[in-house]
Amino acid sequence: MSVRSPFRSIRTKFLTVGLAAVLLSGSVSLFLAAEEHQRFAQQLRSNAINIAKQTAFVVAPLIAFDSRDEMKKALELLRTNSDFAYAKVTAKSGAPIASLGDTPSAPCEVNGGLQVVDRGRFIQVTTPIMDGGETWGCLQLGISEERTERDASRLWAIALSSAVLIMLVTLISGAYLARSIAYPVTHLAEAVSRVERGDWDAQIDVHGRDEVGTLARSFRSMVQELHGSKTYVDDILHSMADSLLVVDSQRKIQTANPATYSLLGYENGKLLGELIERITSGLRRLDTVKLSPGESASGIETEYITRDGERIPVLASLAGMRGRDDTVICMAQDLRERKRTELELLRAKEAADAANRAKSAFLANMSHEIRTPMNAVLGYSQLMLRDPGLGAGAKENLNIINRSGGHLLALINDILDMSKIEAGQVALNPVAFDLSELLKDLEVMFRLRTDSKGLQFEVVVDPDCERYIESDKGKMRQVLVNLLGNAVKFTERGSITLRVSMDRREKGQHQLLAEVEDTGAGISSEEQKDLFRPFAQSQSGRDLQGGTGLGLAISREFVRLMGGEISMTSEVGKGSIFRFEIPVRLSDVGAAPEQMPNCAVTGLQPGQDTPRVLVVDDEPHNRGWLTGLLKIVGFEVREAENGAAAIQLWQDWKPSLILMDMRMPVMTGFEATRRIRAHPDGHEPVIIALTASALEGERGMATDSGANDFLSKPCPESELWKKIREHLGLSYRYADEQISQNMDSSVAAAAPLPATLRELPEELIAQLARAIRNGQKDRMDELLAVIGERDPRLARVLKGLADGYEYDTLTRLLDEARPCSKS
């Protein structure tokens, strides 16, 4: 129930009511007194008339019979009335007949009828005396008003005194009520409004056992409780480290805690009533969503704007306020510190990434740089071993140098692979290829080694195995070489078996399973668990002092990259089985792009222009190798050793193809490519970038600078022919006989090379042997190019051996081809 009362104090109300009561009672008393007074006068008047009429009635026959004595007696009777003043009877003629009392001198008007006149102290009634239709005379009767006046005065006195009494009583009760109700209520009301203004210490001095006292007590305890809960909520708001805002449906800020003020730099209380837009450019959810009570949204990243205009990133969460429609509570956490940390972490990560890239680049460069001097080390140590005058001790020392050099080379290659893996720069490069071809190559390659160690070597291919598949051939090959190499290395007696099978899976997917089993030393179970970790070697591996401990780690990473897994079982003394499974796709023969390169390119089809090719590389043996190959096939070739020279030659000679190494002194390939492309005629030549070995990031840079395509160094010959054909639109002549373009030095060793070698001029063989002995790599490349003109296949095989630093094998082959050799 709500009672609305106009704004007037209770005291005023009491006063008004009291005054009304006093006025009412006073006026009622006075009114009643006046009424009574009037009634008295009326009564007196009618009494006087009655008396006059009765007297006239009695007197009438007395006049008629002229009974004067009787009349006197009748008038005397009037004296019994206490109010009687006088009486006078006059005859019709006007002659007085009888009178009593102090009669007036005025004549009695017989014809005037009944008349009543107030004569001040008296009421005089004049009436004709009639009987039997005859007027016999006139009667004048005086009645005193004295007694009536006296009664009226007494009445007035009573009325006035009772009015005064009522007034007094009213005033006294009013004062009592004011004291017992109005004063405490007023005091209570003042206390309430003080509390309302926030003065929680307002004293309420109202006691007593009545309702007001109870009210005051209840109010006191209510205020205490309210103060307690408000303090509690305030303490929470003050203690909060995060900003808290309450925003109403008009988007005005209703509440803001101290953390908000200190965050935004406003004075306390300055934000109340302000629009939320003043401190935020728009909380997205506040703009678009009206949250109903109980709904909430969290994790909103937005910005608050401080008083100085600074934008502070905050993490806000919103909640609809319970019991208030469209009122939203907004909590916000200062994200500056976190953002700073994130930025630092990001920078640290970038720095780490940069360092890692630098490491990878350094390793790639170093490995590249180390390989060149290693040529000389390995080449010369092998040549020195062939010196018959060498003592046993020196031979042993040379063997150590040779083995260590070989180890170092393997180590560099492995480290290069591992750093590429760690840098995440190893990409899957799936191609369609002939699986049986690959397995055949591997068999040829390893049979040499197993034969030399007296081991049995068997390659078992499941009949269900598909021949043409699509996968990363290079990586698969490397993993198999690794596993077979390990098997040969650690097996002294018995056999080595390579088993390959295939499981049919859905949607053209097949699972390739490869297994390498040996009867070697085996690996203890303690060593097994660390086997695939980088630089972890088994005891036997350490005993043999060979390998880097990276082979299996690299293999595992490659297998994983191909979507498979590698595992092993082993028993010490009995042997080991390494197996891996990878998903492969089937490929039909026609689609296999390997078809073209499988046939060796022997020359250009007649009827075509002879294209000019400019080979740019700072390393002479790299230029030599490429130049040799290109010349064999029939291109017109020139060389430049840096970018500046390349530009000069391009302008003078106008080649249609430039094979550009990217990393060179004086001017890099990137820069030279850019400059050529910037030239008005620069769009003409096809530029194929030769990117540094390992770093795939360079490819993007190369194409960015304007190169049409890229080849990684060292590139398979087939790739070179393929790219040239694509860009220049050439057609080649092919050799009838198929030769594996990937033929390894070991594979080459197994081929019947000496026979073809013998067909070469003896002088050429002698020059090559000399170049090998002297470690002159560029001279070797030149001579190989000459050989390539006569027999491209032979030249490729020899080149493969030379690039693999298999100088020992090369020398042996050349010696066998020279019957007149000194040895």
């Binding site: 009695v58 026959p61 039997g132």
Partner: protein, 145 residues
Amino acid sequence: MTRRQYLSLTAGIALAPAIARGKHEEPFVVIVHPSNRFDALSRSKLSFLFLRKVSRWPWGAEVFPIDVAANPSARLQFTEQVLRTTEEKLAEYWIDQRATRGVRPPIQVPGAMAAKSLVAGRPGAIAYIIASELDGTVKAIRVDP
């Protein structure tokens, strides 16, 4: 003086004119209730009573006049000598009185017996009869000129 003599005397005085007119008529006498305080009444006062101009006796009793219809001689004498009017004018008077004031003429009784009986029974009654019919049940009063 005997009662008879008194009556004859008074009647003779009162009715002298009638007698004088030569007509032989018995005199009338006015009778009242024996308690009536008056012994004599003036002719004018008597006419007030019979014309109903006075309704009460001085002691308050109601005046009850009675007319005797049976004796036209007495009635005529009373009208002429006491009321000093004619029968016609008297009739007009009562018609007028009745119309204006609602006053009826005195009641008429058939004879002296009835008149005497009524007067004897009512203290305020007054009537006139032939003098010879007077007896002790009523009081005769003198009529002064």
